[in-house]
Amino acid sequence: MAESISRSLRDGCLEGEHAPALTIEDSLACPLGSHVFDHFLANLASQIADGTSQARGLVLVALNRSPSFYIDLLRRKGVDASLVDKWVRILDCYSDPLDWKDRIPPLMNVQKPSTRENVSFFRDVRDINKLLSSVLDLGKGFVGQGKTRFAVAVDLVSNLLRHTSLPSVAGLLNNLRSNDQISCIFWLIHSDLHEPRVSTALAYVSTVVASVQPIMQLTDEHRSRRDFLWLEKNSCKAKFYVRLKRRNGRVKLLAEELHMDQVGVKFAAVTSENSFVNKSLLPKVQFNLQLSDQERVDRAKVVLPYEHQGNGEAIQIYDGRRSLSDDQKDPHLVQPSTFSVMTDAQATSGNGEIHYIRDSDDEQPDSDEDPDDDLNI
């Protein structure tokens, strides 16, 4: 599935169609979205460097991590540094997104980090129109005019949404998608930082939505935001759900598993072993906490002491005035005994029985009320 996404980004768009758009979303429950973004970024950069993709260059809008982080990332992933300089342009919206540094005196006597030629500062992330034109200018600047296309990646749409409205951001992404020179576009969003409508709105702009979710879903026990042991268990593995929107309108939902290793993210087909994860988490103690199959069958066969089950036995009401061994028959009572005694035959068969006798006719049948509730102890 991840492979097909990579191929889709590599192949780009058909003439007359909008560019393929990929949303990657994650949450704190499974914060692997950045690694997935890095995976697709490095893949596409390699394909651009090899000349095997439709895109002839890549514009990366860096809002969440510094440009130097991405340059190091691509170098670690084996993309030639000279080709990165040639075919990757980074719009730095991380270092000075609100133009503060131009409005305060610069640092004196302090060595500033050197700037790279393929990194351009962008200092007003609130101006979406200016951001759009900067991305397009940057892309056209190194792939030229005409039919050559370039790819766009936005490392964190959540940061953009802090500065501007959802309609503006959705408009920006849509404008990029529909531009004739864009081959493909993908972005990352942290879904738990926004209302659900934000993810929904971005899904409508996307052709593919890839959602990173924990292997084990949150239970009530883990609802506390900081159940760190649960987070630690989920850290290295995740479910990768992909929603594909075909041109004919059909929506397909597919799933894979992903796990982190030293190199990065790896994807694999869904295995059945994870369905047993919850069972294997039972504490290892010296007594058996689970039921065997036979015990489950026997439990299902137990007739519960509810009168509505209508198992043919007469309804019994206890009259405390009568003794347990009273043989007299009352027209309203059948057997005024409080509890039935298990017979020897029943005991040897190993079958349990529950016999319940109502205290009086006033008591509602099959009631859950505790008759002692009115006691004020």
Partner: protein, 261 residues
């Protein structure tokens, strides 16, 4: 004959958990210290302050004091064996007094963004002053006490606070410094404010959490500390440390449960 310098002390459990070892720069950039009403995390800031200014290293500190005046920290750290006035005179500590911080423009009207920009500028000027003379390459730690006062100054605008933190975060990579911020976690426990905690989770690479003991109040154990180390800001949990602490007049003791008896 000059007395020989005291031997370097062994790192305590918190320093070991944070990878601080015996001096040197921390392997992280942004740490949040979380506390609650029942257990104040201020002692962690005092611990960081003392460690950064210790004679064993060449560290320097820019301290944003929003919660207490300088005299408070001076008094506390003196009992811990550290004279903040002397450190300030030696240009190792820059204390930015921000009591009753308000962001007002020339007309007296609220201008939150300008206020945060000025605050960022003051941090830059402090770093510039620290590194202008007699600077020997030591690590600078920026300590903010505490985040809730920044939110008050911002009239509850989480957006402006997060913008300011983004600038501080980019400063840590540009200027080779680290940032330690105290945050009261229980202020953000409601659903509306929970997003603020999520934002902070995404940008931090260390979380230090001070909590009460689950068993209640004890005389010899004042609380428990959890240190979460992530592989990247907002990333995977790489390691988790948990131990207990006792706050004393002259410092704090960290120990594993049951190891003191």
């Amino acid at each position: 004959m000059n007395p020989s310098p005291p031997p370097p002390r062994d790192p305590d459990l918190l320093e070991e958990a944070l990878g601080l070892g015996r001096g040197g720069s921390p392997p992280w950039r942004l740490a949040f210290v979380e506390d609650c009403v029942e257990t104040s995390g201020a002692f962690v800031l005092h611990h960081f302050l003392k460690r950064a200014l210790s004679t064993e290293g060449d560290g320097t500190v820019v301290f944003l004091g929003l919660a207490q005046p300088f005299s408070h920290y001076d008094r506390v750290l003196r009992k811990m064996g550290c004279n903040l006035s002397v450190q300030r005179n030696k240009n190792k500590l820059h204390f930015i007094d921000l009591l009753n911080l308000e962001f007002l423009d020339e007309k007296g009207e609220n201008d939150i963004e300008i206020g945060f920009m000025d605050l960022y500028n003051r941090i830059l000027r402090s770093i510039e002053a620290i590194r202008s003379k007699d600077y020997n390459g030591g690590w600078t730690t920026i300590i903010i006490d505490d985040l809730s006062h920044l939110e008050i100054a911002a009239h509850g605008s989480a957006k402006h606070v997060l913008d300011f933190l983004q600038y501080c975060r980019s400063l840590t990579s540009e200027m080779d410094c680290s940032l330690v911020i105290l945050n009261h976690e229980d202020i953000h426990s409601s659903d509306e404010a929970l997003q603020m905690l999520s934002h902070l989770d995404y940008i931090s690479d260390i979380l230090i959490k001070a909590e009460t003991l689950s068993t209640g109040i004890a005389a010899d154990v004042h609380g428990q500390m959890t240190v979460i180390i992530k592989d990247a800001p907002g990333g995977l949990i790489k390691k988790l440390h948990s131990f207990q602490f006792k706050v004393k007049e002259n410092g704090v003791e960290f120990f594993y449960p049951g190891s003191r008896f």
